[in-house]
Symmetry: C2
Subunit: 233 residues, 2 copies
Amino acid sequence: MKLEVLIKSDNQEVQNQIIAKIGELINLKNLEPGDKLPSERMLSEKFEVSRSNVREAINKLEFYGLLKSIPQSGTFVADIGVIAMNGMIADILRLEDPDFKSLVETRILLELKIVKLAALRRTKEDLIHIKSALDAYEEKASQGLDAVQEDLLFHLAIANASGNSTLNTFMLKITPEIITNFKKYHVCDDSLSLSAIDEHKAVYEAIKAGDPQLAKDKMKVHFKALYQYCYNI
Amino acid sequence: MKLEVLIKSDNQEVQNQIIAKIGELINLKNLEPGDKLPSERMLSEKFEVSRSNVREAINKLEFYGLLKSIPQSGTFVADIGVIAMNGMIADILRLEDPDFKSLVETRILLELKIVKLAALRRTKEDLIHIKSALDAYEEKASQGLDAVQEDLLFHLAIANASGNSTLNTFMLKITPEIITNFKKYHVCDDSLSLSAIDEHKAVYEAIKAGDPQLAKDKMKVHFKALYQYCYNI
DNA sequence: TTTAAAAAACTGGTTAACCAGCTATAATCT
DNA sequence: AGATTATAGCTGGTTAACCAGTTTTTTAAA
């Protein structure tokens, strides 16, 4: 297990070095937005790494919108300037893995906005979707069973109704890590689940009524326990 | 160009189908958290697609925390239950590409929180970093030059000082798309840049003073134009 | 029968050769 | 010379064979 972590961190290190070198290259060659990067083969030879390593690094930079690969043509510098490119690459290399506290902090921020948007924008289909997630949660939790999964699906259903695909994506990104941490630290015990049923219902009703402020307030109530937990950890 | 989009959407479609099939498989075989998925080779044969397609689909599910690949061992179902797995896969398949409005909406939300956190948590090094970004912006903008890049680097420097790696990552993710859209729609003209210098300075001073509420207020002032633009588009 | 050692099979990752399509150069024609 | 076509080489993507570990099965010993 320890070995695996080592290997992984090594690969991460290699990838970051390649990303840094690509950044240097863009500066060195004065590549402007739209210009073509050297081919993957040339880069792998120049940097003395495998082509798949180069591809992974390019993939990551493509994820962050700095490069754009076009099949049978080349990899191109995105339509942002050299200055922004340098700054962003430095930031990407500096990125740390998210800790639990930052995840919960972010989740609360996202959801308090999401629930307001959902109250404003939810369609009839969204309401049906949220309701069925609510029912599934109630059925599990009322029996005293663990309902962490149903809980989060309810919240994801609301995110889906927010009409904001960026927020929805971010919620999807942080949800699994939150689930695993909840299980690890036993954040949600059974007593919490029972009281949460009514809180969920209140949130749903506010969304259904189209009242964004009420929805936010009800969600805040629901997050109260989580709030305390997050800032006491 | 049109062809390229078609090809890309085809690949996306194939990947989504594989993701859906992996989801079905997990249900069919009743795979619990920690269980091993069939090997990439078997999946590619079973689904009648290439192994690299399977790998990409697994990569995406790994990004969203649903699977975990371990070298020379196998791909494992993450430590979330079957119910959450099904819900999340459905959500992932339903995800849309972010539109400009959702990007700006999200950015404003993130930054108003980030600036408060930065005021509370910034180190001396953070302050130096933010200051140098501020100076670079001022130098460009005061000459009437385009300073979109320096503007966003200033904001990213604040995100870096927030002490929340999740928020920092999200800012990095949306920034390049915002830059390109700004350029496309000419959101930031020169007159805006000039007045923004003082607004940036005010934000910086509030962070330096460690006053979260003031920092948020000053950022809100800075976002006023953006606010209007976003909701009039 | 139980345990330990050895070997065979299998795993995700890597590599190098190959592919279809794009691009720039060269050759041809007007 | 200028425009057009043909050609050669280069591109990211795909494929199949290979690699170094892991995991399971088999074998041998107690």
